[in-house]
């Protein structure tokens, strides 16, 4: 009986130490270790700033410049992305809440075959990593909330 209690305690200790095993999001998001699947985080880490890979910030160009569609600066960003019709592909919206595969922003960032013009960020990269794209896709899949 004492042995069974001991084994139960050992088992509980081992399991408690491992039950919350999880991969760190920061390991996946590479050059933007603080990136999370929220709009505020994506705006801060992707739209507004460059990262250690040398990728340029989106607002370097998408800042209200009349020759570049979409103003992704500050308070304009959410409405310019979510349910906003694409300039290049008017049959698609830039971010379709809950549907990353049909969001033109995802097509442009991943370099999908149906995009018009260059893959973003323009200039041939560095592009967003697959981990960074997973975070953006998750935010869209969650309904693209303004959080």
């Amino acid at each position: 009986m004492r042995f069974r209690v001991l084994m139960l305690l050992v088992g509980a200790a081992v399991f408690a130490g491992t039950a919350a095993c999880d991969e760190a999001l920061s390991d996946l998001t590479g050059p933007t270790p603080n990136l999370e699947p929220t709009f505020s985080s994506i705006q801060q880490e992707i739209l507004n700033t460059t990262d250690s890979s040398g990728r340029p910030a989106c607002i370097n160009c998408h800042n209200g410049n009349p020759f570049v569609p979409g103003n992704f600066t500050g308070a304009n960003a959410y409405n310019a992305l979510v349910n906003a019709r694409s300039f290049e592909k008017p049959n698609l919206v830039r971010v379709a809440p809950g549907d990353a595969d049909n969001s033109y922003m995802v097509h442009k960032l991943e370099g999908g075959p149906n995009i018009v013009g260059e893959r973003m960020p323009r200039g041939g990269g560095p592009f967003l990593t697959s981990g960074q794209m997973l975070v953006i896709r998750k935010w869209i899949a969650d309904g693209a909330p303004n959080n």
Binding site: F3, R4, M7, V10, G11, A13, V14, F15, A16, G17, T18, A19, A20, C21, D22, E23, A24, L25, D27, L28, E36, P37, L134, V135, K138
Partner: protein, 289 residues
Amino acid sequence: MMTVLRIASLLLALTVITPRLAAAQADPAAPANSAAPAAAQAGDDDPDRDFNRSQPDFTVVNLPTTLRLPKFKSAFRVTHRFGRPLGQGDFGELAEDLFGLDSGAQIGLEYRFGLMRGLQAGIHRTSDRTIEFFTQYSLLQQADHGFGLGVIASIDGTNNFKDSYTPMIGVAVSRELGKYGAIYVEPMWVNNSNLLPSELVDHNDTIMIGVGARIRVRPTVYVVGEYVPRSGNTPGVNHGTFGIEKVAGGHTFQLNFSDGFGTTMGQLARGGTASDNWYLGFNISRKFF
């Protein structure tokens, strides 16, 4: 914090396991390999050493049985899951590839050890560099309670146990059918079955209820089968497999057909490949007692 907890828990487990291993190595009474498992060896009255016709091995195909490993004895197992889908191409092409044997395989090597009566622990490594540590404690036996019950636990980690840890805890319930085999029900909870961070997934745990059976059709020939329905994180298809096996001496030779390559509990939680793909495989196990 979690890293510290993991290291602490592994050290705790090692402090329990290491003295037992040392004791086993120092045991002069441990006999050399025997090819006669059908009866307990002379002078040894441990009933765990008797050959069990209903449960001749420690696994059905991938799911554990409730067979007890004798104290300080051990067993070894090799698993192969060949990568060629059996439904690909016509029969002639399949025969040309020797039903998949010409293709690469996911190979598993496993060693288990009886730490003390009713308690066994082991390690299983698959060729995708997953390492699984597992343990099983026999709580109830059919002779006393009408069914067998074992507590099972494991943890596997990818990249040689450096990434993506997937712990499992569950029970294995068995009912032996006289000398004609046994049936199993094994509810399990698998944590962190999704290899992505929990922030990016809807489900990070999998509940599995493994069901399995081993039926003796000839004195030393069995048919085996398993099915593992899941809920929670359920990529791929539910693991299913069936096969035929021959027990010869201390060996068990099993030819099986599976809908995936998984052999660890974490791999089973992640499911097979696709419902219309089945793969040839085999298990060979050897008891060292």
